[in-house]
Symmetry: D2
Subunit: 140 residues, 4 copies
């Protein structure tokens, strides 16, 4: 399945008064890794996906993380993101953030492929992931 | 002119490793105060404004702030926001954030009344503030 | 066990280009609810806890959430937070965010009671939750 | 004077429901550019500065920005940061964020060199910038 890897410098503004990353910021980092991975898999920037596929995005429906080692501003970390499962109308990812080779944060994320729900204004409804997308997500 | 006042508790996640508010967060607080003020002035929630007025919002075109006294998580502060000027296609606001009666942050913000620019995809173009909006902004 | 409830207005700056809350922001809301709950349980502001207890805070060691209904800026939501379990050196919380009475986000969070680890600069080490804190968390 | 340049990809989570960067996020980007510039000028990571200099950091005392062209998630922008002035106990910076060669945001920031104020718990007091730091900031 598709995977990617990027280097991230922990920023001063990511950290809290204890000097460590304010953990909601990790989820923001993982969300950006997810965008980059899907852009790479589909071969187009995210804003073009809305034209290519008649859909309303791939919001998270479930996310979880374990925080094993604290990271601090100035730390250079590596985030490895992989698609681990492609279901009918959703797909799953893992994110592994490492610091000096040691796993610091491990996260799991499930995304739904959604369209706007015409019956509920503002609502979203999961629909099948297009075959072409499934194929690309499952490619190495 | 229109003004408002709200109480805000400084949150742990607003603060940086020095234990004080990470200053970009002040601008986020002032943006929310601006939304609340305009909703109050126009008598409708922000998402309804897009239906009531054929426009694309009121983005900031210039913002500045002076940081006089640091604030910390757990501090209870007061933010007073006022419309100070209504121009042809823009309006200005001041925000005064106080802690125990002392001015801690003073900020100024200019917003443009914009529509999507049909000649530049993704671009925005300032247009005259509707008369009705001008009248409401100038009301006490 | 201890629980609390607060009203939150979803802010413009909490939301992403899809118009819904950028999900890392939910974790920031839940973190603030956690701070408020613990302050209430222990009867002191968070910055005083560092004087009262010789510790380095209660960082999250695991967090997860299910996102059931999207929320948008301007939505008035309710967040109910409860301590669900107090272990030897950690405790667990649930957060339930509701919109118009319907559960929109459900989250679970485990916090460790930590001290600085003298053997690893910058490291943290879980230690037993003080008896007095256990008693207060289990009150109500 | 010292200057630097970095490439930044605008992230989905930096943007608001209008699809453009939520402007407080620009200040966060400029703060990180400031950290990187000062680390480069002083030849050490920020956390080491607290050991090398007996000080409490260089918080912003005034910041302002003009937002000329909106930027959107997926945009690749360039941020150029320069120290423009070194005063007795403060220094100033400019940040120029460009998109496809056009200036999109221009910002100015004044930082104070501070120590903890022994007379006011939690307070900060500006002190002279050390000579060595002045020399390094003024180097090309």
């Amino acid at each position: 399945m598709f995977s990617s890897r990027r280097n991230v410098r922990i920023e001063w503004g990511d950290c809290d008064p204890a000097g460590i990353v304010f953990y909601p910021r990790y989820f923001a980092m993982f969300d950006h890794s997810t965008v980059l991975l899907i852009e790479h898999a589909l071969g187009m920037p995210k804003h073009r996906m809305y034209e290519a596929y008649d859909f309303a995005g791939y919001p998270s429906v479930a996310a979880r993380a374990r925080f094993l080692i604290p990271t601090r501003y100035g730390d250079d970390v590596v985030i490895e993101t992989s698609i681990t499962k492609v279901g009918r109308s959703s797909f799953s990812l893992t994110h592994r953030l490492s610091k000096e080779g040691a796993l610091a944060v491990e996260a799991f994320d499930t995304r739904a492929w959604v369209v706007r729900d015409p019956e509920r204004p503002g609502g979203l409804r999961a629909v099948p992931v297009p075959d072409e997308v499934v194929t690309r997500f499952k490619a190495e």
